[in-house]
Symmetry: C2
Subunit: 253 residues, 2 copies
Amino acid sequence: MSPVEIEARVIGVLGGMGPAATADFYQKLIQATPAKTDQDHLKVLIYSNPHIPDRTAAIRGEGPDPLPALVASAEALIRAGADFLTIPCVTAHHFFEGLQAAVSVPILHLIRETVAALGVEHPALRCFGLLATSGTLQSRMFEAKFQPQGLTILTCEPSVQDTRVMEAIYAVKKGESLDGPRHLVREAATHLLDRGAEAIIAGCTEIPLILREGDLPVPVIDPTWNLARAAVRYALAAGPHFGARRSCYKDRG
Amino acid sequence: MSPVEIEARVIGVLGGMGPAATADFYQKLIQATPAKTDQDHLKVLIYSNPHIPDRTAAIRGEGPDPLPALVASAEALIRAGADFLTIPCVTAHHFFEGLQAAVSVPILHLIRETVAALGVEHPALRCFGLLATSGTLQSRMFEAKFQPQGLTILTCEPSVQDTRVMEAIYAVKKGESLDGPRHLVREAATHLLDRGAEAIIAGCTEIPLILREGDLPVPVIDPTWNLARAAVRYALAAGPHFGARRSCYKDRG
């Protein structure tokens, strides 16, 4: 690296919710990076902290607030040198504003990045079926970002949500065989297609582990992949406020 | 988590050499952890720093010393809260002693953990074929740990080493198709079996991505998996010097 080259931003990953989803996001960061050698890759700091209280339970008022643990994890990443943060857990985005207000670096918003990618890659689609946790559904965080763009969000009926989607997500978190959860999310996706969905959003970071593009007759939208690509772009974009920050490779290791 | 429960140690991963090998190690940490929910998993801090100078080049006297960058990365992890460190890069272990002397937390040694696992799992094997970088071969770090146990290390002839093993490793780092590298390491493994190897050591953390147990008529020893299991054991073992460190979940987030 030339000493006058502007160094890319260090990507912080507030992870562990769950660990398998974070590993998937890390793989996608690597995939999204244009690189021919180790040295072309980006610096990534990951805190896989699985002890952050359950997000869905908190949104339902049935468990402790995860915000203090999210803030502490974010601060650990910033202490280690992260220039901005990403959160490969959709449900945790319910706490996005509180977290962003508490920390000193920008956080990329997974749903905002997904809406931006859809505008470019699927501009004709209007009606999206959402597979997500009950916490995400209750918080209506997808509706908040999609509806202003004229996009409709369809969700599963409560019985399907509880017995298919949530069952599948917690089974993936358990780390057992993925065949059972795979079958459950396909049933839920079919239910959403029957209701009129033109595409399915894998709207919980565990879902892309069991539902991929090509599995359904409609597009499968993967917010983890959208967030990974946005993070790589942001890391590589040396904006004006980073212009003065020349390569300090030797200082930062 | 009960407030009197002793918290597991936080695993630090000094990674990025290369990123795909680190992602593989992180997956293996998750796999090696006995867990039924997110909250059963361990806290893991990963610094994927691909800008650490090439280890093989340094050992050959053809590139800058990576030790300062290794120390800086280790310090970042410790600042963020890592209780001990692991390094999912075999060649970087040439700098192990210098790094251990420079930092305040223990570092698990990948080759030491591999020898320990072999004693339990393959006690009858005596002669191991080593697939590793030329830097690892030149440093004789496997011989240093294996020979005192009466175990022999066989390496590839220089022509095979350069045109098969190193080609394969750098191709994996490039992130292109794995079919070519897969073919190259099988050729190198066959060469070592012809020389009398009773098992093959995937002795560079890129190798397990292209050579797995079952691919050869002899056992394939995966040091990444041995290191992952050792890290999980060490994280969960609350030793006497950690005995006083009660759960401080709320403080550490």
